[in-house]
Structure formats: C-alpha cells, structure tokens
C-alpha cells in the first residue's frame, strides 16, 4: 500500500486578526516562525495516513474543523504545527467554481481552472470534448459565466475535475449542490473513479453518501479525531451522538416526570446485551428487557414498554395488562416483568427502551425510565425497522 498523504501531529490555530495590532502580532509570529500566541484552535494533533485506493469520509458537526483539515491537506493553508506530506496529484474541490471569472466565457474559464489543476494547454484541448460532454450545457459554453445558473457553474466545474484525472479527489460538500440528476452523475463518476483505483476524501453531512462511497470514516470533533475506522461503526456512533445531543433535554425532562408518584421503576435492564461498552445488539438479534417495579400497596403495577428511536420517533409500545402479562413477585413491594422482542428487525442506530410504571388499573403513569441501546450492523436500508420482504426472481418462473 502506497501512502499518498500523511499528516503528523498537525494543528492549526487561526490567529486573532481583527484589530491592526493583532494583525501585526500575527504577522510577526509568522515571520519568526512560531505558532500564534492566541487565536482559534481549529485542529489539534491530527495524525492521518491516506493510502492509495482508500475512500475516506470526513464527518463532524458544523465548525468541527473538517474544511480546515482539507485545506491543510491540500496545501491551501499551512498548518501551525506538525507536518503534511503529499506525494501525489490532488484535485481538490473545496468549492465548485472557485476562481471562475464571471466576465469570461465558460470555455475560457475551463482553460483557466484546468491549468490551475495542473493540465497543460494541449492536454486541455485534447480533453475539451470530454469536458463539454460531461458538463452538458450546450451553447452556453460560449456565454460569460455570469449568465449561468448556479447549477451550470457546478456542472462545468465538476467536468473539469473529471478531465484532470487526479489520483486523489478531495471534495467538500460539493455533492450537496446541483440537481438530482447531476448528483447521480457525479456519484456514478466517483464510483467508477474508485473502481479504477482512485483515492477519495470527502466531507459530507449526508451519512447516506458517506456510507455509499466510503470504506472508512473519520469523525472530527472540536478539531480532534474523535473516531476513525470502518465507515459503519463511525457513522453510527456519530449519528448516535448527534441525535442523542438533540434529545438530551427532552430525555431529562421525561426522566423527571412522575417523581413523587407511588409506583416506580426500580430497575430497567437489558440482560445479555451489555458487553461492558454499553448495551448493544446485532441487527436481527432478539431483544431482552427486564423491569423491576416498586408498588407501595403491594398490588402488582401495570407496565408499559416501548422502543423509541433516539430522535424521538416511537417504534413500538405495548402494555402488560392488554397482553394479559403478569409479573414475578420479588418481595412484598417489588414485581419483575421480563419481555423478549423476537428479532425486532431494528435498523442500525441508537434507540431507547422506555419503561412506564402505571397503577394496577393501567390508567395513570407514575414513573418513566429509559435505557439507551445500540443496534449494530452494516445495513444501509432506510427507515426504522427492516420489514420482511422478498424480490420476485425472474429466473424461477
């Protein structure tokens, strides 16, 4: 495996440059060759190796440092510390159409941006037909770019990239622009590029695209590498964190509700799923849950058990009394319900198992408890649960 890009202990500090004296101080620190004293620490201790043929998705929330990482990697900006070594030709698409001159025709701009990407003039002329075919904007190519729609700019810019035949393609959210058919065209092109042994680094907020195009994923959080590895575990834990953060407050509110009630949930367990790193199960595995409830008057309370996706979408809920289920009496005041969901078919992601303690009549809710669990797997099916299905096989009829 050839290492194409390697980063060692890379950090980036953007100096404070709002006031003139701050600018002068930042200027002096560059001249002296050391890091700015104060400023925004955007990247910290990034170690990364990109080998030939790898496809890496870079994910993280807004402002995490993803774009800065790409800029440092492509040499658009210098890191404040650490080293970046690149031994390959990179086509960096940090922004489609950057450097297009609006007054000039599409053709002129193609020549210009092709030469920025390292194509000689003869090479551009040889590949011009290819570029025009990919961009597919017809006679507009002779018009000034200022008359183009934003979609046309993007098509033309991407067409130049395809013609530059880079070893490494770096894209920053560029697939988010352009219409549906253009996006598909780009994805098809990238897939073929990868099949032919190309190397891809992409920043995207679409986990679907990352999972579709990338083998590995890098999660950047507050300028540091949070997780790096196979695409599915990384994207799943990123989503879990992201969704979890959004529902954190709601969860706390829910947990507080029912305090002071009489019927309480003492324990909520997922036996057999806890391997030390938090409860998790493989997709398609049975889900076991055990709930121990407190009853002040010794009568067996009713329990409601539900599964909620971490963003709050209910998946399924069931109440013990409507099913005619009875608890095991642990002692005078404690009752235990055990439930098994047979192969629930939950798609990979994070879920809550929620237990509600109700009075023996099953009318009022007194307490709510939740337990987070993960479903692990490599499915890229869409939705919440996998529905049993079969495809008609034309060969069998």
């Amino acid at each position: 495996m050839t290492t194409l890009i390697s980063m060692n202990g890379v950090g980036k500090v953007y100096p404070r440059v709002h006031r003139p004296w701050e600018r002068m101080r930042a200027f002096a620190s560059i001249l002296a060759g050391h890091e700015p004293k104060d400023g925004a620490q955007v990247l910290t201790d990034i170690d990364l190796e990109v080998v030939r043929g790898q496809s890496l998705g870079i994910i993280g929330e807004n402002g995490a440092g993803k774009s800065t990482l790409l800029k440092v990697m492509t040499g658009v900006i210098q890191p404040s510390r650490g080293t970046v070594r690149v031994n390959t030709s990179i086509a960096a698409l940090l922004e489609l159409g950057a450097g297009f001159q609006p007054e000039f025709s599409g053709l002129d701009n193609v020549r210009m941006s092709a030469s920025i990407m390292g194509m000689s003039n003869t090479m551009v002329e040889q590949r011009m037909d290819e570029i025009l075919a990919f961009a597919d904007i017809g006679e507009y190519i002779h018009e000034p770019v200022k008359h183009y729609s934003s979609g046309m700019v993007v098509r033309l810019a991407f067409a130049v990239v395809t013609a530059s035949r880079p070893e490494v393609l770096i894209t920053d959210e560029v697939l988010a622009v352009g219409d549906e058919s253009f996006q598909k065209k780009c994805i098809r092109w990238i897939e073929r590029f990868l099949e032919d042994g190309g190397t891809l680094l992409m920043v995207s907020h679409s986990m679907y695209i990352v999972q579709k195009l990338c083998q590995r994923a890098l999660w950047i959080h507050h300028g540091k590498i949070q997780q790096y590895g196979e695409v599915f575990p990384v994207t799943q834990s990123y989503l879990a964190w992201h969704e979890g953060r959004a529902t954190e407050e709601k969860r706390l509110r829910d947990a507080r509700r029912g305090e002071g009630g009489q019927y309480r949930i003492r324990k909520l367990e997922l036996p057999g799923h806890d391997d030390g790193s938090g409860p998790g199960l493989r997709m398609g595995e049975d889900l076991h849950a055990s709930l121990t409830l407190y009853s002040p008057d010794g009568r067996p309370p009713v329990v409601h058990v539900g599964i909620i996706r971490i963003d709050g979408t209910p998946v399924y809920g069931v109440t013990s009394d409507t099913d005619g289920a009875h608890p095991v009496k642990v002692d005078d005041h404690h009752f235990r319900y055990t439930i098994r969901f047979a192969a629930p078919g939950l798609l990979p992601g994070s879920y809550h198992l929620r237990g509600l303690a109700m009075d023996p009549e099953g009318i009022r809710v007194f307490d709510t408890q939740e337990r987070l669990f993960q479903v692990n797997g490599n499915s890229i099916d869409v939705g919440i649960v996998r529905l049993d299905h079969e495809w008609e096989d034309p060969g069998s009829s």
């Binding site: 040499g75 450097g99 210009m112 920025i116 390292g118 194509m119």
Partner: protein, 262 residues
C-alpha cells in the same frame, strides 16, 4: 505542496493568468487596443507642450531634445510603477481563489507585473517610433541591448510586487501608502531632469537610487548609442537578483498563511 503539478502546467497557468489580465485590463475596454498606443502618445504631447513651451526646459550639454530625453525614461518608469501598484492588490483581490484552490500564489503578482509590463512596452515602442518620425535619432541597433535592461527592470518590479502584495494582506493601508511613495520615487529619479542638474552632494546621495541606473542605461543606449558595461552593471544585476530571491523567500514564508488574514 501542490503535489504532482508539473512545471509545464504551472507555466500554462501563468500564461493563462497573463493573458486574462491583458484581456481584462486592455483589450476589453471600450476604446480597445488603440488606446494602448494612443494614451502614451497623448501624454507625450502634453509633456512636450508643458515642458518645452511653458517651462522651456533644456537638457544641459546635450544635443538631444527634452521630449526625447524624457520619453525614453518615462515609459519604463510608468510600466514599473503601474505594475507594482496594480500587483499590490493581486493577493487580496483574489482572496476567494486563494482560500479554495492550492496553487503557487506568487504567480498572481508576477503575472500582473508581466502583463502590465508587456502592454506598456507596446506603448514604449510606439513612442520611440514617433520620436524617430519627429526627428530624434533613436539608435535602433542598440534596442537588443536595451531589452535585457528592461527585463531586469521588470524583475525588479516583480520582486517589489512580491513584497508589497504580501504586506498588503497584513497591513491593509499598504495600497494607500504606496502611490505617494511611488510619486516621491519618481521625482527622486532623474526622469524629468538630468543628474547633471543636481548639486554635487545631492547627486552622490541620489546615485544610490537603483532607478538611476535603468534610466541612465536606456538613455545611453537608445539616445546616444553608447554602451556602458562595467562593475556597476554586474553589481546592479547581482543586486536585483538577490533582492528577487529575498522577496520571493519572504512571500513564500507568508503565502500559506494569507487565508488567516482575509
């Protein structure tokens, strides 16, 4: 850092930059290409009127008329000064490109200087032709010797532009401070006058101005048909090359950090 970008491709990019600049600044104006030649000629006519008819300026001990004496030095100066002033803004003016694409940013000021120089040289040739037509003997045979002098002047402009365009990123007033400084430099250089008209003490001090050498060489070659080659020429050549190397190193030190300051 640009990885596999070949020298050939860099050259293609540079050529495209120069061509684009020329088209933008000269060829796509309403008055078009003709203006390029007309403007210097009109200016020359104005100077001729002001300095010979109103001020009655004479160049002492010289058989060459004042207009020719002025014109031969004035156009190279214009190319020099204009190219530096324009190139100073070439980094800040291309901020959007620099933050998004990896390329050797020094090409921006260098292309601006070269484009401005090339265009002004067309005007220069026009001026020389007109001087010949109105009766001044231009020593055309020495033109091939004047070209290296002009190239060296262009190199000096390139090195200063590298410095000023980088400084402009950090000190935004550079673009405002520079024009009066260039005007000062213009008057400190014997363009409107002859060094012989200066008091001896002052002339010795002002001889350190590197522009003196360029003005002197161009007049000697094109107006008087005299070749001056000695230690001064070697030292000037070495000096300009050293300055170019120094300012290129300075520029490259900062070029990876421009984006921090936009």
């Amino acid at each position: 850092m640009t990885g596999g970008n070949t020298k050939k491709a860099d050259l293609a990019f540079f050529r495209n930059l120069v061509q684009r600049q020329i088209r933008q600044d000269y060829l796509e104006n309403i008055t078009g290409f003709a203006w390029l030649v007309l403007q210097p000629l009109i200016l020359l006519a104005v100077y001729a009127f002001v300095f010979t008819t109103i001020f009655k300026s004479r160049i002492p001990d010289s058989e060459v008329g004042f207009v020719a004496y002025l014109a031969v030095a004035f156009w190279p100066w214009t190319a020099f000064s204009e190219s530096i002033l324009k190139a100073t803004h070439s980094i800040t003016g291309n901020a959007a490109l620099i933050g998004k694409v990896a390329f050797a940013t020094e090409q921006l000021p260098l292309a601006m200087v070269c484009a401005t120089f090339l265009m002004n040289m067309i005007g220069y040739v026009a001026v020389l032709l007109v001087l010949q037509l109105i009766g001044t003997d231009i020593h055309w045979l020495y033109l091939p010797l004047a070209i290296p002098v002009l190239v060296l002047l262009c190199l000096l402009a390139c090195s200063i532009a590298l410095f000023t365009s980088a400084i402009q990123v950090f000190v935004k007033d550079t673009g405002q401070i520079l024009p009066p400084l260039m005007t000062l430099w213009f008057f400190m250089t014997p363009i409107l006058y002859s060094p012989a008209q200066l008091p001896a003490g002052l002339a010795n001090v002002m001889a350190w101005n590197p522009m003196n050498w360029f003005v002197f060489q161009l007049r000697e070659l094109l107006l008087f048909g005299r070749i001056n080659a000695g230690l001064t020429e070697v030292l000037t050549l070495l000096g300009v090359v050293a300055l170019a190397a120094l300012f290129l190193a300075f520029f490259r030190r900062f070029s990876g950090h421009f984006e921090d300051f936009f």
